[in-house]
């Protein structure tokens, strides 16, 4: 008994030990393979976020001298300034225009080109083109196009016999104009993702539906939309964040004006940090924005995530 046990042990331990070793090796290898991503994430996302959070509880002069703890002073100032509230409202207005518009136009574009037809590749490229154009280039081009005196936009409007429009120079227009520009730039990206999503829907479902006499309309509501919902959910989340953090086009076209009508949240963070040299206060603004985005993502997962239909 004793003997058999002792004779058995080395035999059973040997493979177990090597498996453990093997596992350990795998684990190490995995860690090694992951490390570039982890290191990048730690140094470019985690570390700045933490140091930004620390900064937001401090106070300093514009030269970074005399830095001291300030408790919640920055956050209290934030809450007490009407400009900040106004920025939140502007951001909301902007997002409520951009995200749905981008999603809707992107969906229409995707529905037009997802089935191959003669020239479908051409149109797919065409739709994606707006996304391929760098924001700065697009903004400058839009600036020319919308120039109040010499832009083509007003030339077209005038040719149609309508009065010229102050696209970017009137406070009640500018935010909508920027919204359309932002949606325009994002449609291609949305269309590409949705096209991929559409192509993932099994063709036999449509065949069966057609045999049952379902119209295209019914097919869209009963097959396309439900099966596209995971992609739509993801794309919706992305467009939402894209519009909440829009910056380049605002910086280049309106700089928050006219009359602060396009002063979105992100732009205020930028201005307070790199224009007004109030880094600690801007850190508080940035962190608040970060928390708001986090909350929004959580809400979206909670309310829409469940309704998403996975095949």
């Amino acid at each position: 008994m004793n003997q058999s046990a002792s004779s058995q042990t080395p035999a059973s331990v040997a493979p177990q030990g090597s498996r453990l070793k093997h596992l350990k090796g795998e684990w190490l290898e995995g860690l090694l393979l992951l490390s570039p991503a982890v290191i990048l994430l730690l140094s470019f996302i985690v570390y700045p976020t933490i140091s930004g959070a620390v900064l937001s509880f401090q106070r300093e002069d514009p030269f970074g001298k005399s830095r001291e703890w300030a408790g919640f002073a920055n956050y209290l100032e934030l809450a007490s300034r009407p400009e900040f509230l106004a920025s939140m409202f502007t951001t909301l207005k902007f997002t409520l225009l951009v995200a749905p518009l981008e999603l809707l136009l992107g969906l229409i574009a995707a529905l037009l080109v997802w089935r191959p037809f003669a020239g479908s590749n051409f149109f797919r490229t065409l739709f994606f083109l707006t996304t391929a154009v760098p924001t700065s280039v697009a903004a400058v081009a839009w600036g020319w196009f919308l120039n109040p005196l010499s832009g083509w936009a007003n030339w077209i409007v005038r040719a149609l016999g309508l009065p010229v429009q102050p696209w970017l120079t009137d406070p009640s227009y500018a935010i909508w104009t920027l919204g359309v520009i932002t949606a325009w730039a994002g449609v291609g990206f949305v269309a590409i993702l949705l096209t991929a999503g559409l192509q993932g829907i099994p063709e036999d479902l449509y065949e069966a539906a057609r045999l049952d006499g379902a119209t295209a309309w019914v097919q869209f509501w009963k097959i396309t939309l439900p099966l596209l919902s995971p992609t739509l959910f993801l794309v919706g989340l992305l467009t939402l964040f894209r519009s909440l953090t829009a910056f380049g086009q605002i910086h280049l076209l309106t700089k928050g004006g006219p009359a602060e009508s396009t002063f979105v949240w992100v732009y205020r963070v930028y201005q307070d940090a790199f224009f007004n040299f109030r880094f600690t206060y801007a850190a508080a603004e940035g962190l608040t924005l970060f928390l708001a985005l986090l909350l929004l993502a959580a809400l979206q997962f909670r309310f829409f995530g469940r309704k998403v239909h996975y095949e």
């Binding site: 002069d61 970074g64 400009e83 600036g143 010499s150 006219p258 009359a259 602060e260 040299f277």
Partner: protein
């Protein structure tokens, strides 16, 4: 023989290297793009080629805002250039930083008499009784006029304009179609606080308290003064009546409107002279005139930027930095800079140099800026407002113009902007005091 050649070239090479090493390199950050950037680089190259002691490494660091931003980041990190160009409204901040070596000290150490500076720019950059920076690109606001349109409308050209006279002229120059839509605007001014500031000075008002922050640190803005209220009200009225084009905040838009003959008059800096004339390309005759005033003309403050030598340079570096500055102050460099850009000379006597006088006869527009400067009273109005948080304050003033155009009474728009601006100034002042 071959060996000899190799050895010889090696010696030559090492000598060249040694010479290279002996040169002191200084870093110069500037914010001049386009035509102006070419002119700066031209001067740098000329300086580098003219002597063997110093190599100036110039870097275009983006806009003025980008430049000072980069500098503040540099101050934090302990890495600053030897010399940096900072805009007029950064003056208070630069002095408060404690990171600069006042120009007056360096000039004194090198036996340079600062009385050689033209008084107005010297006045502007003198803070707490000391000249802190070298006035480099000094400008004024000007009116640019399409004289062909003026002649056609029967308006004689003159260089000095009261605001009410300018309004009458602009109304005459405006052309509308049957429906009342404007086909050609009388005037276009980009929405920029700078013009509101200049209107204060030119009308004999302070833009901020304590005599433009010259007697003591400014603690409150003063752009609710009668001149500025009248100016912003005028601005909004002119836009509403379709006499002034609302072209937004972009100076480029104003220049384009002028060059494309969509506006007969535009307000721009003297610095735009070369670029604007290039844009017009001789399609029509352009004449410049002084900036308008309300009742009595005091003269405007200078705008533009100046060069700051940074603290903490080695003796060699400081010597080289001064070498470059004194090169820029030479009458010849000043003349070249003035005629190449439209900025005016900051050293006395340059305007009287034969080649400058000759150029002025050929292109009288260069002279307008100088005449405007010469006829400006040297006082605390024309010294210009010195205040912290100025970039932020400018945003509020620009916003007030836009609010007024939208329909808010000018006095109210400016009053609301003053509340925000005073809060910003207060935040700055209390952060500095600590």
């Amino acid at each position: 023989m071959k060996k000899f050649l190799v050895a010889g070239s090696l010696v030559a090479l090492s000598m060249a290297l040694a010479q290279q090493n002996a040169k002191t390199e200084i870093q110069f950050w500037h914010s001049m793009g386009g035509v102006l950037g070419e002119r700066v680089e031209g001067l740098v190259k000329e300086f580098n080629d003219s002597q063997t002691v110093t190599t100036v490494k110039s870097t275009y660091v983006g806009s003025y805002d980008d430049g000072i931003n980069k500098l503040l980041a540099g101050i934090r990190a302990g890495k600053v250039p030897n010399l940096i160009q900072v805009y007029d409204i950064g003056s208070r901040t630069m002095v408060d930083s404690g990171a600069i070596e006042p120009l007056e000290n360096i000039a004194k150490a090198n036996n340079f008499d600062i009385d050689q500076f033209v008084p107005q720019p010297r006045n502007y950059y003198t803070v707490d009784g000391k000249l802190n920076a070298m006035p480099f690109n000094s400008s004024n606001p000007l009116l640019y006029m399409n004289t062909a349109m003026l002649a056609k409308a029967g308006i004689p050209y003159r260089n000095s304009w009261r605001l009410s006279d300018l309004e009458a002229a602009a109304r005459k120059l405006t052309i509308k179609d049957a429906s009342g839509a404007t086909l050609r605007y009388g005037i276009a001014i980009p929405i920029d606080s700078w013009f509101v500031e200049q209107f204060s000075y030119n009308s004999g008002e302070y833009f901020c308290n304590n005599e433009n922050g010259r007697k003591a640190r400014a603690s409150e803005m003063n752009f609710t003064n009668p001149a500025d209220v009248a100016f912003v009200d005028w601005w909004a009225r002119m836009v509403k009546d379709g006499v002034m084009a609302n072209i937004g905040r972009s100076g480029d838009n104003a220049q384009a409107a002028f060059a494309q003959e969509k506006a007969a008059i535009v307000a721009q800096s003297t610095a735009s002279l070369t670029g604007l004339l290039k844009l017009v390309g001789g399609k029509f005759e352009t004449r410049t005139a002084f900036f308008p005033y309300l009742k009595e003309r005091n003269g405007v403050a200078i705008g533009g930027a100046s060069l700051y030598a940074m603290k903490g340079q080695s003796a060699d570096e400081l010597k080289s930095t001064w070498g470059f500055i004194s090169f820029l102050l030479k009458p010849n460099s000043q003349a070249k800079w003035h005629l190449g850009t439209g900025y005016f000379p900051v050293i006395k006597g340059v305007a009287q140099l034969p080649n400058v006088v000759q150029a002025h006869v050929k292109q009288p527009n260069f002279e307008t800026a100088l005449r405007q400067l010469e006829t400006t009273k040297v006082n605390n109005y024309s010294a210009g407002c010195l205040a912290g948080a100025f970039p932020e304050i400018r945003q509020y003033v620009a916003g007030a113009i836009e609010e007024a155009i939208k329909g808010k009474p000018a006095a109210e728009a400016l009053r609301d902007a003053k509340v925000k601006a005073d809060a910003a100034l207060d935040r700055y002042n209390s952060a500095i005091k600590k």
